[in-house]
């Protein structure tokens, strides 16, 4: 039993999107995947292959996290719990790649 007070909040379920939104997101995800695979096979894109693919997968990643995992609607704090470590991980990956010479200009 807890005493009621202004500082305690009942657990609120944030409104979740409807099935229609889910379907639209799924459609976009599928289209993006098709584009990804397409970019991979079209020689004309090969000069921008890596940035293009990274961008596309980042968009897919964000869509799933925002809509399917409800971060867009849910508490900002969950975004912090997820985003903080995500950024740490990204920083670690970049740091390690730098230390192992992945970004060094190939001579």
């Amino acid at each position: 039993m807890q005493q009621p007070s202004t500082d305690e909040h009942p657990v609120v379920q944030h409104a979740h999107p409807t099935a229609g939104v889910y379907l639209r997101v799924a459609t976009i995800l599928v289209i993006l995947t098709v584009i990804e695979v397409g970019v991979f096979y079209v020689p004309a894109f090969h000069s921008i292959l890596v940035p293009a693919l990274l961008l596309l997968s980042a968009v897919k990643f964000t869509l799933v996290v925002m809509f399917y995992m409800h971060l867009k609607m849910d508490s900002r704090f969950f975004t912090f719990l997820f985003g903080g470590p995500l950024l740490l991980g990204l920083g670690m990956t970049m740091g390690l790649m730098f230390l192992f010479g992945a970004f060094a200009l190939r001579r």
Binding site: M1, Q2, Q3, S5, T6, D7, E8, F77, G84, P85, L88, G91, M92, G95, L96, F98, L99, F100
Partner: protein, 600 residues
């Protein structure tokens, strides 16, 4: 209660206070084990060409000394205070997930026992000797840990033990994050949270982010040792330096996992005995958060001698020096807390002041390590051994001792003897400086660490003897503490709710607290509830005391935890059936746990 029933009540307990006590006693036993290992090390090094132990045993001793102190003594000792004190400080009935909490404890015990079993199980591995303890140093650098250079079970014990301990720490990390964020008493805003609880929160975040990295590093090592991959082996293009990076990406946050809780304890003890609120509360909290965050960007300063190139050296040197700023800020704020106070030198206060004095020395030698060229003469010598002991002994252990004297009356209802306490402090303080200060010079004069013998030509024999004497003085001091604890059980003065005049919520309830902690969850109106007149009454007018529901125990956390060491026996003994048995136990435990009616 019958004896069996009493035992079962401990095996199934989900009460954070009982789990805190279990953590304390278990971790303290391992603190003694690690200390004993240290005394063997010092006995061997008391004179040049020593013959107390063999080279192999010495290598196991320093490896297990480091591993034990970090993972089996200091971390679980801080965990014991997280468990016992944090829910009381934030005004909660228990932690967020009591059974997960029990699980953390049991996993810790079983992992610790598995790793230490290596001292006695040599004959099972036909090793021709009793001890097959880990022997590659506590940071186990590849490729010395590969099958080729460490064919025995030594490293297997180490890596499997660490994997299991990681599970324990991670589970505790999630638990305390949620507990502190979600179970605060009404009115306890984040900026009213006691500093110790704040540091517990920061530590928990460090745990849940740093431990996955060591988990992966160990998984790769497991694959190298058991399945013939080449992650750390040059023969197929791998690189042993990858291990060092992964280890220290974990290892540096780990240093803060060890020191931040102690800083939190000191931030509680100093105000209480100075009769002044903590100076610059917000700054102290934010600098703790900042230290935790910046701890992620400095790992390669453990690797300046690897030869990472001038750019990497400069970057990591700069980030490391930056960390000195929030650390220094904390020290100045503690000094300002004491300034103008009425200092009562209880044992807890002495240890807290000792913390400031000694941690400062450790911090300053740390600055000399932050400069890569200077570090090249210091790393892997006794100078660095001096540094870590000023930080982890002068810092963490002094902070923990301060916490023990401070909260012992709360945890047991009886005050530790102040007379014995002062002897304890004096012996440990003198012994500590005698043991570790000469090590600065020993290192600068050229003695590397991790050597079981040294030549009299180095000219460091006398200094080493002094250091050994200091180490044994510490041992005597710890014995005094044990005697103090023992006699307090029956002869200690009873404490009452609040023997020190503390400011935080744990002092509002009886010592030891009832199972449900608070008859009524207090409403908090200030940072120092017991020192402020504006504090709302704990029991609102006309409130009806509802019946308090106390959760029952559960055996399933223990059962699930048991599965882990059984699983680990499979790679250890190269017998697959253990894996099936272990996995079955874990699955059974989880399902029974999940569908058990339980409410907290």
């Amino acid at each position: 209660m019958s004896r069996l029933k009493r035992l079962m009540s401990w095996l199934t307990t989900t009460d954070h206070k009982r789990i805190g006590l279990l953590y304390f006693y278990t971790a303290f036993v391992f603190f003694l084990v690690g200390g004993l290992e240290a005394l063997f090390i010092r006995a061997q090094l008391a004179q040049p060409d020593g013959h107390v132990v063999s080279a192999e045993t010495f290598n196991q001793l320093f490896t297990m000394h480091g591993t034990t102190m970090v993972f089996l003594a200091l971390m679980p000792l801080t965990a014991s205070f997280f468990n016992y004190i944090v829910p009381l400080q934030i005004g909660a009935r228990d932690v967020a997930f009591p059974r997960l909490n029990a699980f953390s404890y049991w996993v810790f015990v079983l992992g610790a026992l598995l790793m230490n079993a290596s001292w006695f199980t040599g004959p099972l591995f036909h090793a021709g000797r009793l001890n097959v303890a880990p022997d590659a140093g506590w940071f186990g650098y590849a490729n010395l840990t590969s099958r080729q250079y460490s064919p025995g079970p030594n490293i297997d014990f180490w890596l499997l033990g660490l994997q299991i301990l990681g599970v324990s720490s991670l589970a505790a990390g999630f638990n305390f994050i949620v507990t502190i964020l979600n179970l605060r008493a009404p009115g306890m805003k984040m900026m009213r949270l006691p500093v110790f609880s704040w540091m517990t929160l920061v530590t928990s975040f460090l745990i849940i982010t740093a431990f996955p990295v060591i988990t992966v590093a160990l998984v790769l090592l497991m694959f190298d040792r058991f399945f013939g991959t080449h992650f750390y082996l040059t023969s197929a293009g791998g690189d042993p330096v990858l291990w060092q990076h992964l280890f220290w990406i974990f290892g540096h946050p780990e240093v803060y996992i060890l020191i931040l809780p102690a800083m939190g304890i000191v931030s509680e003890v100093l105000p209480t005995f100075a009769r002044k609120p903590l100076f610059g509360y917000t700054v102290v909290v934010y600098s703790g958060v900042l230290i935790g965050f910046m701890g992620w960007g400095v790992w390669s300063h453990h690797m300046f001698s690897v030869g990472l190139g001038p750019i990497a050296d400069s970057v990591f040197s700069a980030t490391t020096m930056l960390i000195a700023v929030p650390t220094g800020v904390k020290i100045f704020n503690w000094l300002a807390t004491l300034w103008g106070g009425q200092l009562r030198f209880t044992t807890a206060m002495l240890f807290a002041i000792g913390f400031i004095a000694l941690f400062t020395i450790g911090g300053l030698s740390g600055v000399t390590h932050a400069s890569p060229p200077a570090d090249l003469q210091q790393t892997d010598t006794y100078y660095v051994v001096a540094h870590i002991h000023y930080v982890l002994f002068g810092g963490t252990i002094f902070g923990l001792f301060a916490g023990m004297y401070y909260w012992w009356p709360k945890m047991t209802g009886r005050l530790l003897s102040e007379t014995l306490g002062k002897w304890h402090f004096a012996l440990v303080f003198v012994g500590m400086n005698l043991a570790f200060f000469p090590m600065h010079l020993i290192g600068l004069l050229g003695m590397p660490r991790r050597i079981y013998t040294y030549s009299p030509d180095l000219g460091v024999s006398t200094l080493n003897l002094v250091s050994t004497i200091g180490a044994f003085l510490i041992g005597v001091g710890v014995l005094v503490f044990i005697w103090n604890v023992w006699r307090t059980r029956t002869r200690g003065q009873t404490a009452g709710n609040d023997p020190w005049g503390g400011a935080t919520l744990e002092w509002t309830i009886s010592s030891p607290p009832p199972v449900h902690n608070f008859d009524v969850i207090p409403t908090v109106a200030s940072r120092l509830p017991r020192w402020t007149k504006t504090q709302l009454k704990a029991i609102p007018e006309g409130a009806k005391l509802a019946e308090i529901h106390v959760p029952g125990g559960s055996i399933w956390p223990l059962v699930t935890a048991l599965g882990l060491p059984v699983l680990a026996l499979a790679p250890l003994s190269h017998r697959l059936p253990f894996a099936f048995v272990g996995a079955t136990i874990i699955l059974l435990g989880i399902f029974r746990w999940a569908f058990e009616p339980f409410e907290a």
